[in-house]
Amino acid sequence: MKRHWLAWPYIIWMIIFIVVPMILVVFYSVTEQTGEGYQLTFRHFHRFVDPIYINVLIRSVVLALVSTIICLLLGYPMAAILAGREFSRKKIMYMLIVLPMWMNFLLRTYAWMTLLERNGVVNTILSFLNLPSLDILYTNKAVVLGMVYNFLPFMILPIYSVLSKIDQSVIEAAQDLGGNGIVVFRRVIFPLSLPGVVSGITMVFMPAVTTFVISRLLGGGQFTLIGNLIEQQFLSSGDWGFGSALSVIMMILILLSMGVMSRYEQDKGGGALW
C-alpha cells in the first residue's frame, strides 16, 4: 500500500498552477518596480484607502448582501414547498430548477436586458395592464435582479436537500406536543434546516460579491463593483500592483465571510457547504 506517490504529479501541478500564482499576486501587491528592481511598498494598499475605492467595496458587499437576503426570502419557501409532502413529482421539479443553468450564464443575463429595456417585454406587459413602467436597467436594482436571478438555484437546492431529509416523525412529535404551525417551524424545522441555509447563503454571497459580469451588463457606470475594479486594473490600466492588492483584499473578505459562516454551520455533513 505504498501508492501515495501517485499523488505527486498533482501536487507538483498544484504548486505550479495554484500556489505559485497566489504567491505572485501577493508579491505584486506589496512591491513596485523601480530602476533597481522590485521594492517593498504598501502603496497599493494605501491607495485603496480612498473614499472612491472604499465605496466600491461597500457597494459590492451591500448589493451582494441584499441579493443574498432576497434569495433567502424567495428560495426558502420554494424549497419548503418542493420538499413538502404534497408535491409528488419531485424529480421533475428538481430538474426544472437546475435546467436553466444549462443555458449560458452570460446569455441569460443578457436576456434580462431585453426584458428590462424601456420598450422591452416587461414594460410592454406593464403598459398593457395599465401599470406604471419600470425603468431599472443600468441601475443597482438591475444588478441585484441579475444576481438574484443567477444565484437563486444555489439557495433553493441546499435548503431543499436538507429539508427533504428531515425526519417527518420529528415534526409530528412537535405537533403532538401541542406546537402550532409557527412554533413547529421556528423551533424545529428552521433550526434543523440551518445547515442548508448556511450553505445557501455562502453559495449566493460568494459569487455575488465577486462578480464583474452582471454589473457590467446590467449596471451603469464603470466602477460598479470590486470585481470590475480588479478587471480594470489588469486589462485596461495595466496596474498589476493595485489589481493584486484588490485581489488580496477580496480573498481576505471571502476568507472572513467563510469563517463567519462556518461558525453557524452546526452539522458538517448535512449542509454540503462545498
Partner: protein
C-alpha cells in the same frame, strides 16, 4: 393553501424561465435588433453555420471542454488514489490545497493564472486557457472520486490479489468498476464547468482564441446577434433531450437506483443532470 403554493412555485419558475423563453423566441425573430419583433424566420439557424466567429468559438469551447475534462479526470483519478493512500497529515494538507481553486473567486483564480502565464513569458492563447481549465477542473474530479474510494470495501482489492490477480489487473477489474460512478460524475462536472466558464477563460486566453462565453461578452453591449440565440436554443434543446433520455433509461434500467447515482455532496456547485439525490 395548496393553490397558493402552486401559484408561488409557478411564479418562481416563471422568473427562472422568462429570460430563456425570450432568448428562444428571439432566435426566430426576423429583425436583427432585440427590441422589435418583425415576424418568424429560420434564417439565423441557417446563417449560424456560416458564421466563422461563432463556429470557431464553438470549436474552441468544445475542444477545450473535452480535452480539459479528459485530462483532469486522468490526473484527478491518479491523484485520488495517491491521496487516498497518504498519511493523515499530508492528506489533509493536499486536500486543503485542492480546495483553493474551489473557494477562490473565479476572478482571483483567473488573474493569478494570467499573472503566472505572463510572468513565465507564455503567450496567452489556446495552451494557457487549456492549462487553466485543467487546473480548475481537477479539484472537482478529486472531490467526486475520493468519497467513492472511501466507501469501497478495502478488502476487495486484497481479495483480488489473493485470488491471483496482479495489482494492475486488480485495479482495472476491481477498483475501477467500484469507483466508476465517481469518475463519471467528476468528468461530467468538469465538462460542464469548462463549457460554461467565462471569467477564468477571459483572463487566460488571447491571440484570437475565444470560447462562446467570451464572444457573447464581447457582443453584449453592442447587441447580441440572433445567431447566438439560435445556437444556444440548439444547445439547450440537445441538453434537454439528453437529460430526458438519461432519466428515462435510468428509471427503466433499475428503478431502485434512481437518485442514488453519483451523489456528490462534497461538490458545492449543483450541476444539472448529474444525479444529486432527490
Amino acid at each position: 393553501m395548496r393553490f397558493l403554493k402552486k401559484t408561488y412555485v409557478f411564479l418562481i419558475f416563471a422568473f427562472l424561465y422568462a429570460p430563456i423563453l425570450v432568448l428562444i423566441v428571439f432566435s426566430f425573430n426576423e429583425s436583427k435588433s432585440r427590441g422589435n419583433w418583425e415576424g418568424l424566420t429560420l434564417k439565423w439557424y441557417r446563417e449560424l453555420f456560416q458564421d466563422r466567429q461563432i463556429m470557431s468559438a464553438l470549436y474552441y469551447t468544445l475542444l477545450i471542454a473535452i480535452l480539459s475534462s479528459v485530462i483532469a479526470t486522468v490526473i484527478g483519478l491518479v491523484a485520488s488514489i495517491g491521496i487516498f493512500h497518504m498519511k493523515k497529515l499530508p492528506q489533509s494538507m493536499v486536500l486543503n490545497l485542492n480546495y483553493i481553486p474551489i473557494l477562490n473567486p473565479d476572478i482571483v483564480t483567473g488573474i493569478s493564472l494570467m499573472v503566472l502565464f505572463i510572468s513565465m513569458k507564455m503567450n496567452l492563447g489556446f495552451a494557457t486557457m487549456l492549462l487553466a481549465h485543467i487546473t480548475f477542473n481537477i479539484p472537482y474530479v478529486i472531490l467526486s472520486i475520493l468519497p467513492k474510494l472511501k466507501q469501497m470495501n478495502k478488502h476487495l482489492y486484497e481479495a483480488a490479489l489473493d485470488l491471483g490477480a496482479s495489482p494492475v489487473e486488480a485495479f482495472w477489474k476491481v477498483i475501477l468498476p467500484e469507483i466508476m460512478p465517481g469518475i463519471i460524475t467528476g468528468f461530467l462536472l468538469a465538462f460542464t464547468l469548462s463549457i460554461d466558464d467565462f471569467v477564468i477563460s477571459f483572463f487566460t486566453t488571447g491571440s484570437g482564441v475565444n470560447n462562446l462565453s467570451i464572444v457573447i461578452f464581447g457582443m453584449a453591449r453592442r447587441g447580441i446577434s440572433p445567431k447566438i440565440n439560435a445556437l444556444s436554443t440548439l444547445m439547450f434543446l440537445s441538453v434537454l433531450i439528453l437529460l430526458i433520455i438519461v432519466n428515462l433509461r435510468m428509471s427503466v434500467d433499475n428503478p431502485e437506483r434512481r437518485g442514488k447515482n453519483g451523489r456528490s455532496k462534497e461538490n458545492g456547485r449543483y450541476l444539472p443532470g448529474i444525479g444529486h439525490d432527490i
